[in-house]
Amino acid sequence: MEYGKITQEGIDYIISVTAPDRVFTGEAIEYDYCHDEMPEYGTSRPDVVVQAMSTQEVSAIMKYAYENRIPVTPRGAGTGLAGGAVAIYGGIVLSLEKMNRILEWDLDGLTAVVEPGVLVMELANAAMEKDLFYPPEPGEKTASIGGNVMTNAGGMKAVGYGVTRNYVVSMEVVLPNGKIMQFSSNVAKNTSGYDLKDLIVGSEGTLCIATKLRMRLIPLPKYSYTLLVPYETLESCIGTVPRFINSPITPIAIEFMPQQLLLDAEKYLGKVMPHKTSAYYLILMFNGMTKEDVEKQCDKAAQICFEAGAEDVFLCNTEERKEAVWSVRSAALEAIKASTTDSDECDIVVPRNAIADFVQYADAKSREYGIRLMINGHAGDGNTHIQLCRDDMPKEKFEEQTPLLMNDLYAKAKEAGGQVSGEHGIGHARAGYLENFMGEDMIDLYRGIKCAFDDRYILNPGKVIRVKES
């Protein structure tokens, strides 16, 4: 694929449709725009960074890029974990961080219209002030809503509330050729034509750029308790999860953490878990509108955990106690990265009843390859976050062994009926693995969809599907 090169004339044009203080080139481009949260997958300096402030600006930039075949990488807060917001083909990084206004509250229909640069925590906090709740909660709360929609982020509460897709009502988008379109509207259901809104959710900015998003909200639960559940063995810990799938109570979150992670969080980040002497832990969350309801759910959950072999069940019923537990969980990625020299990760998702088997397989592979695996994540929806830690293994050997181990894990996931990524997305880091996993026919179908939106392959090229060399 031959791309055009951005010229001074092009830069002048971009400045003319935006503003000089929002266009950066050369050394003025901060390093932050060259990577996401996984710089291990490679950094890349774009030719231009432009911070858009409106749909019209995005449209004007895309028109220029389309006509001149300039690659454009849309970017939110840059907190992704698959290299999705990294301009691997150079060109323009189109930052939406300054499009960060909450435009409308629809308190009758319980929706809010936001610009893509609004941070997840900003929407969540603003909703809370109105006694409303925006449930998706990725580990990184400083992620942008736009980025969350484009990766269909899940997070801790996906077991109870579902993923970001469940909260996208409609969207305004700019197509690669600059056309502004509206996908769906403020309706509760819709069978009018292809559901493009749902196609765009999770498309990682490869099909169009969302410039306005109407997000669904729900009434704020009045009570939320967390249970910290210690186990002696991996089998009994992970084996608890399927028991909840079949039970009448639904935890909002079921998180899995091994002891080593708690110790690393304390050692490197100073975050102390109130209990840390057991080998494995589950963290469960229950929400409700009355105290009695939440207490009843916790009592029942405790019983289920004990039956599955839990050593004890600890109650977190105050802000301080919940914070003590969840702040450790939220620091997992940081703690793992701090504990090792280099790392790689995957977020394979398997059917919920296959999670125990998969975690045990990964654990065995860790020993076989001599690579330390830190396995944690959203056990309740079958989504594991597996971090491969280099520690003192020679770099070359780690780089050689990592793809082999990854291939084994993906093959196992496929055998179990799983998928490559549960919520982090493909980006460019996992595009090769996705190709192997999906096979040629599926990738051809993806290419067809890509071409329907972006026949010039200018929007976030190399992400999800690789650009064919021609």
């Binding site: 004890d312 069940v313 600890f314 109650l315 105050t318 301080e320």
Partner: protein, 262 residues
């Protein structure tokens, strides 16, 4: 060793409104929880018990609703719990509260050490602990941030002051108030909930106390009265810095220097 720990119920959130006319916290319908500072006292008491053997008894002054909090203390490993509850005790200030607690502890019998939190999140006086010790005529140490040893006759403690750290040995029986973070508080356990589900919470009333002079308790026994209570005005303001990351960091450092934060 007989260890006593004083705990108090406080509003469950920091969003409790104040009735500006009466100067009273609007507690109706508000969730209550154990004063967060008292969790450190509870943890300290339980660790002392683990080290020396014996029992931990939790005490509180307040209405019977405190029973939930006391049951929760059983879920954390407390052996026995007492609520000092009587209409006579209502409206107590620091002085009357400390006196009531001291009387109640006396009525319970002998003890070796009393552990209190540093302060409460609703009253914030940090005086009740030391005042109890004064009423009981026992030595006390505040701001305890560490315990290095305890035996049948005394306890060796570390205290954090503004400029110095002091280690001291205090003879038993005594009272200590402990700093936040002396130990990480444990969480309530469902295993202990099951084990203690039939354990009673004792209620002591005015009639159980040695001093039968009502003028020493509650509103009558209080030396202070609150004239006005109001939420402080918040003086938060934001500054936005422009420029590159390096420029912004430099400017931030200048501002922090000017304001003497660094």
């Amino acid at each position: 060793m007989k260890i006593v720990v004083c705990i108090k119920q406080v509003p469950g959130t920091n969003k409790v409104e104040i009735d500006e006319t009466t100067g009273v916290l609007k507690r109706d319908g508000a969730e209550a929880k154990i004063n967060p500072y008292d969790l450190y006292a509870l943890e300290t008491a339980l660790r002392l018990k683990e080290k020396t053997g014996g029992t931990v008894t939790a005490v509180t002054m307040g209405p019977d609703q405190a029973i939930d909090m006391m049951k929760e203390s059983y879920m954390m490993g407390v052996d026995d719990a007492y609520i000092f509850s009587d209409r006579t005790f209502a409206g107590a200030d620091v002085l009357a509260t400390s006196y009531t607690l001291a009387q109640g502890i006396k009525a319970m019998g002998d003890f070796d050490i009393i552990v209190c939190g540093k302060q409460t999140t609703d009253g914030d006086t940090a005086q009740v602990g030391p005042a109890i010790a004064e009423y009981l005529g026992i030595p006390h140490a505040a701001w305890v941030s560490g315990i290095s040893d305890i035996d049948g006759s005394g306890i060796e403690i570390t205290q954090e002051f503004v400029n110095i750290r002091q280690t001291a040995r205090v003879s038993l029986p005594c009272l200590i108030t402990v700093e936040k973070d002396i130990f990480t508080p444990r969480l309530p356990s469902y295993r202990l909930k099951e084990e203690t589900k039939d354990r009673e919470v004792h209620i002591l009333t005015f009639a159980d106390f040695a001093d039968q002079n009502k003028a020493h308790y509650g509103l009558k026994g209080s030396a202070t009265s609150v004239e006005r209570i109001f939420p402080p005005e918040t003086a938060g303001s934001q500054i936005f810095l422009d420029g590159t990351a390096v420029q912004k960091a430099g400017e931030l450092i200048n501002i922090l220097h000017e304001k003497r934060y660094i």
